[in-house]
C-alpha cells in the first residue's frame, strides 16, 4: 500500500502486520497488527513490561524488523524520548540542527525553537536548561525534520505537573499545525485521554483494547465522559476503581 499523498495531511498511514518479538523465552510482541490513520493522534497504554517501548523502538527502526512482519511506515520519523537526550557538548540550536543538511540548518533550527517558545535559549548549553526547556528542545529537534510519523516515548513522565500541563498544550498545538501521524507511549491514563483521538491498550503482546476518544477539544478532566473513559481504560489495565462515580 502506497503512502497517501493527501495534501491536507503531512502524513501517511501506518500499517503493521504480524509483528512478533521475542527476547529469549519471553514473547514481548505476539503477532501484533496496528493501523494508524494519517495525521491521527494515538496513545498507547500498557503496564510496564507490556511491550510498549519495544513496539515504539521497532517503529523507530531502532530494532531490526523481525522476520514475518510487515511494516509500512510514514517517513521521515522523529522520536522524543522520556529523557531529552540532548548532546551536552552542543548548544541548543546545534542539538536541534543535528543531522540537518545544508546552510539553512541554523535558521530552520531557530524557527523550530521559536515554535516551542525557546528563542531566548538558542545559544544555551543543555546543562543550563530546566527539565521543561530540555524537553521542548527535544520536541523542536523532532519537528525540525518535518516528520510524517512522530513517536513520543513517555516524553512528559519526568516533568513536574505544571510543566506537563504546558507541554500537553504545546504538543497538541504542534500536532495541529504540522499534522504528523502521532503515537504517544504513556502509562498515564489521563494524559492519553487528554491528548489522543484513540487510545490503545497493549497486553500480552497484542492490542487488547482500542478506544476512540470523541470528547471535544480542549478537553478537561471535568468533562462528562472523561471519567467513564478513564474508568474503562483503567479497567483494561487491570486497575479497578473502588469508588463509583
Amino acid at each position: 500500500m502506497a503512502p497517501a499523498n493527501n495534501p491536507a495531511h503531512n502524513a501517511a498511514p501506518l500499517r503493521v502486520r504480524n509483528l512478533t518479538r521475542r527476547f529469549g523465552a519471553n514473547t514481548v510482541l505476539d503477532g501484533l497488527d496496528l493501523d494508524l490513520a494519517p495525521g491521527s493522534f494515538t496513545a498507547l497504554l500498557g503496564r510496564s513490561g507490556s511491550g510498549k517501548s519495544t513496539l515504539l523502538r521497532t517503529l523507530a527502526e531502532l530494532d531490526p524488523v523481525p522476520k514475518g512482519a510487515r511494516l509500512d511506515l510514514p517517513r521521515p520519523v522523529a522520536v522524543a524520548f522520556q529523557e531529552p537526550r540532548l548532546l551536552p557538548w552542543k548548544t541548543v540550536w546545534q542539538n536541534v540542527a543535528l543531522g540537518l543538511p545544508g546552510r539553512e540548518a541554523r535558521s530552520r533550527a531557530e524557527a523550530a525553537l521559536e515554535e516551542v517558545g525557546l528563542s531566548h535559549r538558542v545559544e544555551a548549553w543543555p546543562a543550563t536548561l530546566s527539565g521543561g526547556e530540555a524537553q521542548r528542545t527535544a520536541l523542536a529537534r523532532a519537528l525540525v525534520r518535518s516528520p510524517r510519523l512522530l513517536l513520543l516515548d513517555e516524553p512528559f513522565a519526568a516533568l513536574d505537573a505544571l510543566t506537563r500541563i504546558r507541554m500537553h498544550a504545546l504538543v497538541l498545538e504542534l500536532w495541529r499545525h504540522h499534522g504528523p501521524t502521532t503515537l504517544i507511549v504513556t502509562h498515564d491514563v489521563d494524559e492519553a485521554v487528554l491528548l489522543a483521538d484513540r487510545v490503545l491498550v497493549l497486553e500480552n503482546g497484542r492490542i487488547a483494547e482500542d478506544v476512540a476518544v470523541e470528547l471535544p477539544r480542549p478537553r478537561r478532566h471535568a468533562d462528562p465522559g472523561f471519567a467513564a473513559l478513564r474508568r474503562q481504560l483503567l479497567g483494561a489495565l487491570g486497575v479497578a476503581l473502588e469508588e463509583a462515580a
Partner: protein, 285 residues
C-alpha cells in the same frame, strides 16, 4: 498546628540549609581577608623561610642541601650563562618528540580498539597486558635495542605517554551514553557523523584526563631517561652537579622539572576549560 509552622515552605529551605547559609556570614569577619587562592601559598612560603633560616643558622650543611637563596642565585647565574636554557631546550625537545609519538600512538590505538569490535579484539588484550609492565623497568632492554643516544630516551617518554592516553580514550569512547548514540542515529547521523558529533566529543573529557596523566608520566620518563649517559639536558645538569657536590644546581634542576610539569598541567587545564565549556561544573548562566 505547631507542625505546620515548623515547615516553612513547600519546596523550601530546610533548616539545615538555612543554617549553612548563615555560617559564612557569621565567621568571615574573623578570617584573614586574603583571597583563598593566595591563602594556599602561605604554608609553602613558611616552609621555604624555615629552610632558609636553618641553612643560615648552619643547621643544614651546603653539601646536604643548599640554601634557597643560593639556589636562586645559581639559577640566575645558569640562566645568564645560557647553560640552563640550552639544557632546558634539549629536555623539552625530548619530551615533545616523545609525547608527540606516544600520544599519537595512544590515540590511534584507542580509536582502532574503541570504534570497532575487531579492533578491540586485536589491540586491547596486548595493550592491557603491556600496561601492567612497569615501563621504567624496560630501560635495560631499551639500551640494548637503541643504544645510549637520543632514541631510548624519546622511546621511553613515548611509551610512558602512550598508555594513559590509550586507556582513557578507549574507556571514554566505550563510556559514551548509548542513548545519545541511539538518538543521534534516529536523527539521521551516519557512522562518520556519529563519531564526529557524538562519540569523540563524549570521549573528550576522559581523554583529556588521560593527557594530563600522559604529561606526568612523560616527565617521569624523562627524568629516568636522562640518567642514561646523557651529555645534555636537565638530567645531565643534575648528574654533572652531583659530581661536584653542587646541591644548589641539583635543586635548580629539580625545580625546573617541577615547573615544567606544573606548566604542562596548567596548559591541559586551559585546554579543558576551552574544550569542555559545556560541562555542568564549568557552565555559568
Amino acid at each position: 498546628m505547631s507542625d505546620t509552622q515548623a515547615v516553612p515552605a513547600p519546596h523550601g529551605l530546610l533548616p539545615g540549609r538555612a543554617a549553612e547559609a548563615g555560617l559564612p556570614a557569621a565567621a568571615s569577619p574573623r578570617r584573614l581577608t586574603l583571597p583563598p587562592r593566595l591563602r594556599r601559598f602561605i604554608s609553602p612560603l613558611v616552609l621555604v623561610l624555615l629552610w632558609q633560616a636553618a641553612s643560615m643558622a648552619g643547621l643544614i650543611a651546603p653539601r646536604t642541601l643548599a640554601a634557597p637563596s643560593t639556589v636562586l642565585a645559581s639559577a640566575w647565574e645558569l640562566t645568564l650563562t645560557g647553560e640552563l636554557p640550552s639544557h632546558l631546550l634539549v629536555s623539552l625537545g625530548r619530551v615533545l618528540s616523545g609525547l608527540g609519538i606516544g600520544v599519537s600512538a595512544g590515540v590511534a590505538l584507542a580509536l582502532v580498539a574503541g570504534l570497532s569490535r575487531r579492533g578491540e579484539e586485536i589491540v586491547d588484550a596486548p595493550m592491557q597486558m603491556l600496561r601492567t609492565l612497569p615501563f621504567l623497568a624496560l630501560v635495560p632492554l631499551f639500551i640494548l635495542w637503541f643504544g645510549i643516544g637520543e632514541t631510548p630516551k624519546i622511546a621511553l617518554v613515548a611509551l610512558g605517554a602512550a598508555f594513559p592516553v590509550y586507556l582513557t580514550l578507549f574507556s571514554g569512547i566505550r563510556g559514551v551514553d548509548p542513548k545519545l548514540v541511539e538518538a543521534a542515529r534516529i536523527f539521521g547521523l551516519d557512522r562518520r557523523g556519529l563519531i564526529r558529533h557524538v562519540i569523540l566529543p563524549g570521549a573528550l573529557p576522559s581523554a583529556l584526563v588521560g593527557l594530563r596523566y600522559a604529561l606526568g608520566s612523560a616527565w617521569l620518563s624523562l627524568v629516568i631517561a636522562e640518567q642514561i649517559n646523557a651529555t645534555a639536558g636537565i638530567g645531565f645538569l643534575i648528574n654533572d652537579a652531583r659530581e661536584f657536590l653542587r646541591t644548589d644546581v641539583i635543586v635548580v634542576g629539580l625545580l625546573v622539572y617541577a615547573l615544567l610539569g606544573l606548566g604542562a598541567d596548567a596548559l591541559v587545564r586551559l585546554v579543558e576549560r576551552r574544550a569542555l565549556a559545556w560541562r555542568p561544573s564549568l557552565v555559568k548562566e
